[in-house]
Amino acid sequence: MNITAYVVLSGILFTIGCVGVLTRRNAIVVFMCIELMLNATNLALVAFAKQHGNLDGQIAAFFVMVVAAAEVVVGLAIIMTIFRTRRSASVDDASLLKY
């Protein structure tokens, strides 16, 4: 089975996520882009698992999902708190921690 298409799609999704994280200011959108990158990775992992004919990649994908779920819980809570105090979800506004 040829997995080229899957890998290419995974690459495209990852790049979109990456660019999104670097360019968007809204914290929620940044967050969504991170999810996109994680799932692009998952896609690549599952595709490679299919090619090698074993389950290693699929198991790794589950781990990534669990971690992503945990991260969403913590991340959304932080974003909510910041929004409540500063009335803004822009990541550029939260720049007090610096030299």
Partner: protein, 643 residues
């Protein structure tokens, strides 16, 4: 028994184990040590009876020493050495040092001198220090002094000797600086301590060398193996030991502390000059005879140092107006005689010890006498303010006179016998050395007569309000005993007793006749002394002594008053160069070492100031750095895999 040929050493006889009264040997040291501990730890609770306890304990040591001495007299010559092993002090690999005490004829005599004269000084101090609020502490220090000196002469190895040696240094520091509220006393104590350290360096180096060469510091081990070492090694050892002896015994060139040490209370001066401390150097050289017998060059140096010290001390004694400092100069000179005797080898060891004992008697007598005079003169030490004290203080005068006659070597008195013997041996071995010793005897006659005339004769020059009075019996009692010993001390030479007695330690020499008959030597010595006395009489006895020291004096007098420029020489050669070295090192430390050490942190700080600008608080720029980092890692992995 052991007739020495050149290059042969004296074997130490196998000592027997300590039984009978000798089992108490350790108590001799322990009693005064316990006294020091009780008085110094007990604090003010012991104030009321501290001086009595402090006096009784050395007397206890004296009684034990006396019993042991009598018991040893009844034994054979070869059976007069007793060793007591207390415990293993240091054990590490091949190194094994025991806390061993050795009682032999040499330490027997020292024990009697230290505890005997020491006890008398303790008794005297009860009266002398009666009005001092810190008298109890004074007695604690005195006991410590005596205990350390006893340890020094009783130890069977150099390490134990060193323990006592340092103890003596500590006690002398505490006692010289006893009146610490006087800056001069504090400085004098420090000076004595520092100069003694120079000598201690010699002793500690010698001990290390003993360890390396012989694997032991025990006298018996070293003396039996001494022949295996080369002459150069022995010469180095001898010179190191001589350096140590010079420090403790105030010999040239380490003599400068002795005169400043007069800042201490007078009984301390008596103790330092008669029973403890300065005699330690002579003891060290006589005890180390097995080293010096194999190092003729070192012996020559000892003789030269001794000769210089005899004249140097006498010179100081001639010019000082301070009664204690004049006596201190005389001590340096007399110790020079002992060193001379010790440097002359087997022929002189016994006489060095003999002179040490008689000097212990008459110098303690005169120092305590001087203390008694000061006591009556409101602690004035300037002899130009004395005069005609003989009527006011008859007992002090008479006892002092006995000491005076002994030190100048008046025929029949103890000093006559002991000094005469050293002069005789010196003349036999080397005519120049003999003449130096003779000259020293003449100068001794001069300065002691000067001291005697200015203090007890001539007209009254007392300060206003001073009413000399005789000291209490607790002070004059020891004076009388010491005066008797000063007169009769020569009895030890009867039938060459002291020579025979010390034979197991110092060996026997073939008796050589001096180039001129012995009687003629004595006669010449007496004549030389008489000339010295007569000159002193002409200078000081016939005219009124000015109350102020004359200013326009000859160079000789001026140099004498300045202690023959000993302090200036030290300043020029040692103190000032060291001071410059120190300030140079300080500058180097601040500029160079600190520069290197603080330079690193400063540079890192500067780099951090620039680098921390990357920490700008924008999450997206951090994300970019992350991405860049990840890219670099991936590219690096690719590059590695491709090659």
């Amino acid at each position: 028994m052991y007739a020495l040929q050149g290059g042969e050493s004296i074997p130490v006889v196998d000592p027997s184990s300590a039984d009978g009264v000798f089992a108490l040997l350790w108590l001799v040291v322990a009693l005064p040590l316990a006294g020091a501990a009780i008085l110094l730890v007990g604090g003010k609770y012991t104030d009321r009876w501290g001086h009595l306890l402090g006096t009784l304990l050395p007397i206890g040591s004296f009684v034990i020493s006396l019993v042991m001495f009598i018991s040893v007299l009844g034994r054979d010559d070869s059976d007069r050495q007793v060793m007591q092993h207390l415990y293993t002090w240091i054990e590490a690999g091949h190194l094994n040092v025991g806390m061993d005490l050795l009682y032999d004829p040499l330490s027997a005599l020292f024990l009697l001198l230290i505890t005997g004269v020491g006890s008398l000084i303790h008794i005297y101090s009860i009266g002398y220090m009666a009005h001092d609020p810190r008298r109890r502490r004074f007695f604690g220090y005195l006991n410590l002094f005596v205990a350390a000196m006893l340890m020094l002469v009783l130890s069977e190895n150099y390490l134990g000797l060193f323990l006592g040696w340092e103890g003596v240094g500590l006690a002398s520091y505490l006692l010289i600086g006893f009146w610490q509220h006087k800056p001069s006393a504090a400085a004098a104590a420090k000076k004595a301590f520092v100069i003694n350290r120079v000598g201690d360096m010699g002793l500690s180096l010698a001990i290390m060398m003993f360890f390396v060469l012989f694997g032991s510091t025990s006298f018996s081990v070293i003396s039996s193996a001494a022949g295996n070492a080369s002459e150069t090694q022995m010469t180095v050892l001898g010179l190191l030991l001589l350096l140590a002896a010079c420090g403790k015994s105030a010999q040239f060139p380490l003599q400068a502390w002795l005169l400043d040490a007069m800042e201490g209370p007078t009984p301390v001066s008596a103790l330092i000059h008669a029973a403890t401390m300065v005699t330690a150097g002579v003891y060290l050289i006589v005890r180390s005879n097995f080293v010096f017998e194999l190092a003729p060059n070192a012996q020559t140096v000892v003789i030269v140092i001794a000769g210089i010290s005899i004249l140097w001390g006498a010179w100081i004694g001639c010019a000082k107006d301070d009664i204690k400092k004049a006596l201190a100069g005389s001590t340096m000179s007399q110790i020079g005689y002992m060193m001379l005797g010790a440097g002359l080898g087997v022929a002189g060891y016994a006489f060095a010890i003999f002179h040490l004992l008689t000097h212990g008697f008459f110098k303690a007598n005169m120092f305590l006498g001087a203390g008694s005079v000061m006591h009556g003169m409101d602690d004035d030490v300037d002899m130009r303010h004395y005069g005609a004290i003989r009527k006011a203080m008859p007992i002090t005068f008479l006892t002092f006179a006995m000491g005076y006659l002994a030190i100048i070597g008046f025929p029949g008195f103890s000093g006559f016998w002991s000094k005469d013997k050293i002069i005789e041996v010196a003349l036999t071995q080397n005519i120049v050395v003999g003449l130096v010793a003779l000259l020293g005897a003449g100068v001794t006659g001069f300065y002691m007569t000067r001291l005697m005339l200015m203090t007890f004769f001539t007209e009254k020059r007392w300060s206003k309000g001073v009413h000399p009075h005789e000291s209490p019996a607790v002070m004059t009692g020891p004076l009388v005993v010491l005066a008797a010993l000063s007169v009769l001390g020569g009895i030890m030479l009867a039938g060459e007793w002291i020579v025979d007695f010390l034979q197991p330690v110092t060996g026997v020499s073939e008796h050589e006749d001096p180039p001129i008959p012995v009687l003629a030597v004595s006669a010449i010595a007496v004549v030389v002394v008489a000339i010295g006395v007569a000159v002193a009489w002409f200078v000081f006895g016939r005219h009124a002594v000015p109350r102020e020291a004359p200013r326009d004096v000859s160079f000789v007098t001026r140099a004498g008053r300045e202690e023959v420029y000993g302090n200036q020489i030290n300043d020029t050669l040692v103190v000032n160069p060291s001071r410059h070295l120190t300030s140079g090192l300080l500058v180097t430390d601040k500029r160079v070492v600190d520069g290197v050490l603080t330079g690193g942190p400063v540079a890192i700080g500067a780099i951090a100031t620039i680098a921390r600008r990357a920490q700008n608080g924008f999450v997206r720029s951090y994300a970019l750095s992350l991405l860049g980092g990840a890219l670099i890692v991936v590219l690096a992995l690719l590059a590695v895999n491709l090659t």
